[in-house]
Amino acid sequence: MISKEVEKILLNVQKPGRYTGGELNSVIKDKESVDVRFAFCFPDVYEVGMSHLGMKILYSQFNERDDIWCERVFAPWVDMEEQMTKHGIPLYALESGDSLDKFDFIGFTLQYELSFTNILYMLRLGNIPLLSSERTQLFNIVVAGGPCACNPEPLADFVDLFFIGEGEEVDLELIDLYKQCKSNNESKQEFLIKAAQIEGVYVPSLYTPEYNSDGTLKSFASSHGAPEKVNKRIIKNLDSLYYPQSFVVPSIEIVHDRAMAEIFRGCIRGCRFCQAGFLYRPVREKSPEVIDRQCRLLCEGTGYDEVSLSSLSSSDYTKIVPLLTKMNEWTEKENVSISLPSLRVDGFSDDILSKLKTVRKSGLTFAPEAGTQRLRDAINKNVTEQELMETCSTAFDGGWTTVKLYFMIGLPTETFDDVAGIARLGQQVVNAYYSAENRPKGKSVRVTLSTASFVPKPFTPFQWFAQDTIETLKEKQMHLKDSITTKKINYNYHDSSTSFIEAVFARGDRRLCKALLKANERGMKFDGWSDFFSLDKWLEVFDECGIDPAFYANRQRSFDELLPWDHIDYGIKKLFLIEECKKAYNSETTPNCRQNCSGCGAARWKEGVCFEKRKDMV
């Protein structure tokens, strides 16, 4: 329960429901009767954090155990921060109302680089010393996991240990080790040395980097028996994996307020810009029976009348039609609608559509990612113009009048003509509307083109690529804007300066910790929110720390450079990434995992699509 002091300030802040706890299905335990208290921290506001599936899974899984109490902590919005600071209230967890410094573990999920400043913001508000070296006790252990843990180095000074890969098993193993070390009165250092022996745990303080005179990494030595390469953890069988029967149901509106079930992990496609497509290999599917049961239980446990089938590319689920057929047996009766995000252009079939009866006709979204076939080949987004046009025509005949198309600009090998190609593609979609015979009569079409600026990410074939400068990205945005000639097309673009800072941290090294610390001292936070992000402030911070951000974002690396994340191993061979990179520059495509194995290395996990029978095999 939150304190009376907190209650008093809640009248002075917006959306006070973010800070109260007490939601249906939130878990309250007796703190005296548990051994380990875990504060699960999401470095963004309540509405964003509560929408995150991973947090829901781990929260329930931890709390299944009698000896662990897992609670939730979110970043307070600035009005709340002001009130908390003014009244001397530290950051607290929603279940017990206890401050962060009462917890054995303080765990962060790293979903996007621009949330890094919020980690320090939250630690500071919770009265936790920021630097790992300043926390000497076997208590208040700061851990982190999630996709951005694949390059943990920019956070190496703050986080005691990182989970690499999928968390469901490794986190419990770590907690058991902690209990054991605690009862043996061992030190934090002894605990960390032992933790480094668990597969999927990376302890940055056990590694020492050395640098060349040009600033690149020279060596990265491990000590105290920590492994030279830290392997990711992977869940082998998704069907038998723990899945919650109910979620905490927020009492206030959040971003994604619905039941969610994962249908598979990984992605067969191998789009060369997509980090998730490489980190989560190989593809492992859940069976339709298990998904159907989990969805039904969740709807019963939460009262949600919408369930979302989540994955990186829903239409690639091999049993999608049987699954939808099975689910329709109960969803129709109970007024539950099914949503299928991340549909590929080529996966939009009548068969699927007829099963998703309640798809709202407000808009359709597809992501061709690039404007010309050549560039789509270079990034291995194997979608053709013809497929896009056929899909749009189907949609127009089915009564849709708005289409959103997502693209990236600043992709490797991109020319100004490729950028103009985005406008041409938009125009063709407009034309497709007017040639669709069954289009809604008397209505106009709206096509929205949206561009994000490409950020090269570790563990992708573009990890060596020099990001376009902010100026070039802006020129490309203007070029696209000028290439659009009809009012039926809207154009939105993301601010390229945020993509620049994202690129710095995505491929940064330990020397960036200094910058994060300085940014925190200056009160920087919520960089993912345009209300707070400031390029000028970041440039000042880098300048004061003697850091050249272009070294990380805009420098072309050579294939033989030692990269800051080379000691982390997701099972994808570096040689494979190099081959993929070379193919990109020749605009050569790579078939997807179900068409042909390309030997990326993920088969070493001995699971999933790597061991499925392919059609061409006898």
């Binding site: 009248l11 429901g17 706890g21 009492s251 446990g301 609608s337």
Partner: protein, 219 residues
């Protein structure tokens, strides 16, 4: 089809759930409890719920109501409170379900109890400040309406109130016009108190009675 009015309390931290969000909370609780509720017949059918008198964010309520329609007329409505309570967040509790006797438009007045405290003032001081405020000839404050901010005089609405000190807090009880035709939010009085004294107050406001024009409880 059968109309049912459900009474519930909204107390403690649940007072920070806004009216819009309360609608969502109730919808989910009804879905979860499998009460045979009538759904609207649009493109996106959803359970039909209406609230007689919305409660401001930050207020507790002791006799709040919402109306639903049941598709199964034989459903035992006395089961509804217990069914809902299994699915509601902390602080919200249903306690009665019955067929409605009045229309929401008949609501005319509501009674509020406001417990007021301050970090740097005693209950007697607060009581004195409030009684000074309430004994002025006119109490002018700003009221936000759909058309913008307008000035109103709160003095004429002060017909029935009581003020006392209780420990470290001052307790103000007042009955004010409520409903769709005229509604006076008791917080307006606190706002003008703040304007007048420049002090900071902490308050918990509870709506504990809703009546028609004759003073009979809303049923």
């Amino acid at each position: 089809m059968k109309n049912v009015r459900i009474w519930f309390k909204k107390e403690g931290l649940s007072r920070f759930i806004s009216h819009l969000d309360l609608n969502k909370v109730m919808t989910l609780a009804i879905n979860r409890s499998k009460i045979p509720i009538w759904h609207t017949e649009g493109f996106n059918p959803h359970p039909f719920i209406t609230f007689a008198l919305p409660l401001s964010l930050g207020f507790c309520g002791e006799c709040e109501t919402m109306d639903i329609r049941l598709t199964d007329e034989g459903f035992d409505i006395s089961l509804i409170p217990a069914l809902l309570n299994k699915s509601l967040p902390d602080g919200i509790r249903a306690y009665k379900a019955a067929e409605p006797k009045m229309k929401p438009a008949q609501i005319a007045r509501a009674r509020y109890e406001i417990i007021i405290s301050s970090d740097d003032k005693s209950a007697d001081e607060i009581q004195k400040e409030i009684s000074d405020l309430l004994s002025m000839n006119e109490i002018i404050t700003q009221k936000k309406t759909k058309k913008g901010v307008k000035e109103i005089d709160l003095r004429p609405y002060l017909e029935d109130y009581d003020l006392k000190a209780d420990g470290e807090q001052a307790v103000l009880t007042m009955t004010l016009p409520a409903g769709s035709s005229e509604n006076i939010n008791p917080i307006l009085y606190l706002n003008s108190l703040k304007e007048k004294t420049g002090g900071e107050y902490f308050y918990v406001c509870t709506r504990n009675e809703i009546t028609d024009i004759n003073g009979s409880a809303f049923e």
